[in-house]
């Protein structure tokens, strides 16, 4: 909950709602209190003035015991105006004998009624001042918070400043307390309704204000680090601060991506360099004895006396060693000096090389490759590619498996299809094997062969792909190596 409250999407609407509520309540309360106080104060002053005025003009009638005149005086201000109904004021004139001299309500306060029979508050105002000294008696308003009225008593003085009676005025509150409470209740109800509406509006406004922020937050939260999600682009189109934030975030992600890509490339280049150094060392070590072998074969030929079978064997050996020499030379990243175009002989040699392998494993080998026509392809590279692919396929097919090689030529280039039964190799696995030299395949064989194949093919301008197993085909995997003529 605390964590939720800390969230802007809640804090902003809550703050807006609270501010609305607080200002609404403050304004309402202040207005009510001010109006109430002001109205009440002025009403009390008016009542005091009325009591004093009445006390002044009642002196003569009271002195002369003229009940009727006094009655007419006190009746006037209490008479209901224009059918307003009941009056809100009560007046009682108390004589020096502590009895009612006159009242506009003779039925409630008949003439001669003792002051003690009056309602307590009227009785207090009517008699207590009478009992006091005749000097400093001033009318005093006595507002009672609980009562619905206030009572003002004013002494009636003769010219000789003798108090001969009291005027007691009770003024009803314009709004009785009970009614005031009811009004406050209704106001509170209506106000609560209004404030609730405003509050909801505030909440909605707050939510709207935080919505882009929330959208951005969610986009950032769910986003992979590698790309900028479309949601961020959407927010970035805004013209406000949130939009700016989104743009900054996008820029940051893009820079991060560029950095990652650079790091990846550097890592690959480093790996390639180390493999290159290793391969160069191996190549050097291998090429030296191979040179000796080739020299030995050459010497044997120069000595003569070689029969036909031996000569073929020597030729085979010589081409094989040449092949190894060239292949190893490829590892040295050196420009190959000896380049000859692929001939049918080269392909025949390949068959002779892989045939024993297949027999050894117990796998059937179908060989239907024709040399490319009208195309110049580097013999060594292509031989190596096909060799590698075929050896791999034989290994994958295993005992009682079958491997088939077929060639096809079109405008795009010369393609060799190597299919095998057994395990299935997906394009992704192929790419992994091509990309990660030294990666270990599930069979435990390192993928260096395929990697070299990849590189050779790359040099030969070719490509490698896995053909999806076709319907009805018995082969699990078909790898297609396509080679194109290198121009220039």
């Amino acid at each position: 909950m605390i964590r939720q409250l800390a969230s802007y999407r809640l804090r902003v609407p809550i703050a807006l709602t609270l501010v609305t509520l607080l200002s609404g309540v403050t304004v309402a309360v202040t207005t009510f209190v001010l109006v109430d106080r002001h109205v009440e104060a002025s009403a009390i002053r008016q009542t005091e003035r009325l009591a004093r005025t009445l006390a002044g003009s009642l002196a003569q009638p009271v002195l002369r015991n003229d009940v009727w005149q006094a009655y007419q005086m006190v009746r006037a201000p209490t008479q209901p105006r224009d059918g307003e109904g009941g009056t809100s004021m009560r007046i009682v004139v108390v004589g020096a004998d502590d009895r009612v001299f006159v009242s506009p309500e003779p039925q409630s306060f008949p003439i001669g009624m003792h002051v003690s029979a009056l309602p307590p508050r009227l009785a207090q105002a009517g008699s207590s001042l009478m009992a006091g000294s005749q000097g400093a008696i001033d009318p005093a308003a006595r507002p009672d918070e609980e009562a619905d009225s206030w009572v003002v008593g004013a002494p009636i003085r003769t010219d000789a400043d003798t108090i001969i009676g009291m005027v007691v005025v009770e003024q009803q509150r314009a709004i009785p307390r009970a009614q005031a409470r009811q009004i406050v209740g209704q106001l509170a109800g209506l106000g609560a309704g209004a404030i609730a509406l405003i509050g909801i509006a505030g909440w909605v406004a707050g939510r709207r204000m935080t919505a882009p922020l929330e959208q951005l937050r969610e986009a950032m939260h769910d986003a992979p680090e590698t790309r900028v999600p479309p949601a961020v682009d959407e927010v970035a189109r805004r013209h406000d601060e949130v939009g700016e934030l989104a743009r900054a975030y996008r820029t940051m992600i893009e820079e991060l991506q560029a950095k990652r890509e650079m790091e990846r490339r550097m890592l690959q280049a480093e790996r390639m360099a180390s493999i290159g150094r290793l391969a160069a060392g191996i190549a050097h070590e291998v090429n030296n004895p191979l040179g000796g072998m080739l020299n030995a074969i050459e010497n044997r030929r120069l000595r003569g006396g070689v029969d036909e079978a031996t000569n073929r064997t020597l030729g085979l050996l010589e081409r094989g060693i040449e092949q190894v020499h060239t292949t190893v030379g490829a590892l040295l990243n050196e420009a190959r000096r000896e380049v000859h175009d692929l001939q049918a002989d080269d392909l025949q040699d390949l068959f002779l090389l892989v045939q024993p392998q297949a027999e050894q494993v117990g796998c059937s080998l179908e060989w239907s490759i024709e040399a490319p026509r009208g195309m110049r392809l580097p013999a060594v590279g292509v031989r190596q590619v096909i060799l590698n692919l075929t050896l791999n396929a034989i290994a994958a097919a295993g005992d009682a498996g079958s491997v088939r090689l077929a060639s096809a030529q079109d405008a795009d280039g010369w393609a060799v299809r190597v299919s095998n039964t057994g395990r299935t190799l997906s394009q992704q696995q192929l790419e992994e094997l091509l990309g990660n030299a030294g990666a270990t395949s599930s069979s435990g064989r390192t993928g260096l062969g395929l990697w070299i194949t990849g590189r050779l093919l790359h040099l030969a301008g070719g490509s490698l792909r896995v053909e999806a197993p076709g319907g009805g085909s018995t082969f699990a995997t078909t790898i297609v190596a396509t080679m194109r003529e290198q121009r220039g």
Partner: protein, 288 residues
């Protein structure tokens, strides 16, 4: 009510302002405007109807070929004093002050009401009151009209005197409203538990202010007394008296006079013997 009071006070003030100026003797041979005939009114009738008063005054002025001015005061006593001191020539007063000051006043004529120059005093209580007799009003608040009113004061005084008491002792508190109409009002609004009122005024009010009389109930009607008479003070000349009497008595013969009489709810004015007021004089004697 306030308006009425103010109006009457204004009239009184106006009269008081004019009085000293007009009572000055004409001096220096300069031609001074002729002094109007001044006619003092008391609340023996419903004297607060300005329209009626102006029409009556217009009729009298035209009939007398002389300016007539109505003078109204707060109390019967003030009118009576004005009469006796010669500030006014004529006055419509109650039979009680007439018999009290008979030697200085001359009877002009007496109004006729419901075929006779007589009226009664009514004792009234609020409509909802349980009292039905004067005896049940002991210890209650009582409203009199004027201390110089027969129907509104003397008669009750007389009744109480016969019972060996007086208003001070018999009632808890009694007060004067200075007019019959106000007695009805005070009783109707229950300011007083009962009141004494001129029967003619009460009956007239049943037409003019029925809501007030409906709020009261008559519990006692007195024997008949001489109707409040129109009298002349010592200042009035014989010729003026004769003319004034003639004009009043002739009112039923004149359309405007009849109109005024109808508004007053009177039949007319007639010469009556002084003995009409003997019963009042006897009561006045009894309470003295």
């Amino acid at each position: 009510m306030v308006a009425t009071l103010k109006r009457r006070q204004l009239l009184a003030l106006a009269a008081a302002a004019i009085a000293p100026a007009t009572s000055l003797p004409a001096a220096g041979g300069a031609r001074t405007p002729r002094r109007p005939i001044r006619f003092g009114l008391t609340p023996v009738f419903l004297d607060d109807r300005i329209g009626l008063l102006s029409r009556w005054k217009a009729y009298l002025s035209d009939a007398l070929l002389d300016e007539v001015e109505f003078v109204q005061r707060q109390t019967y006593a003030q009118i009576l004093d004005a009469l006796r001191e010669g500030q006014i020539e004529f006055g419509w007063i109650c039979g009680y002050p007439y018999v009290l000051h008979e030697q200085r006043l001359r009877l002009i004529c007496v109004p006729r009401w419901q075929g006779a120059p007589r009226y009664r005093s009514y004792l009234i209580v609020p409509a909802g009151s349980e009292a039905h007799r004067l005896e049940e009003l002991s210890g209650r608040n009582f409203a009199f009209s004027d201390p110089l009113s027969n129907s509104g004061f003397l008669y009750v005084q007389y009744l109480l005197a016969q019972r060996g008491t007086d208003a001070q002792r018999y009632f808890r508190r009694s007060f004067f409203t200075w007019s019959h109409r106000h007695v009805v009002e005070a009783v109707a609004e229950r300011l007083a538990d009962a009141g004494a009122v001129d029967g003619y005024v009460w009956e007239a009010m049943t037409r003019i202010a029925p809501q007030l009389t409906a709020a009261t109930r008559v519990i006692h009607r007195s024997p008949e007394f001489g109707f409040p008479p129109i009298v002349a003070g010592p200042r009035a000349s014989d010729s003026t008296i004769a003319a004034f009497r003639k004009v009043l008595i002739a009112m039923p013969q004149d359309p405007r006079g009849r109109e005024v009489l109808a508004e007053l709810q009177l039949d007319g004015f007639g010469e009556e013997p002084r003995e009409l007021f003997d019963s009042i004089a006897r009561m006045a004697e009894a309470v003295r």
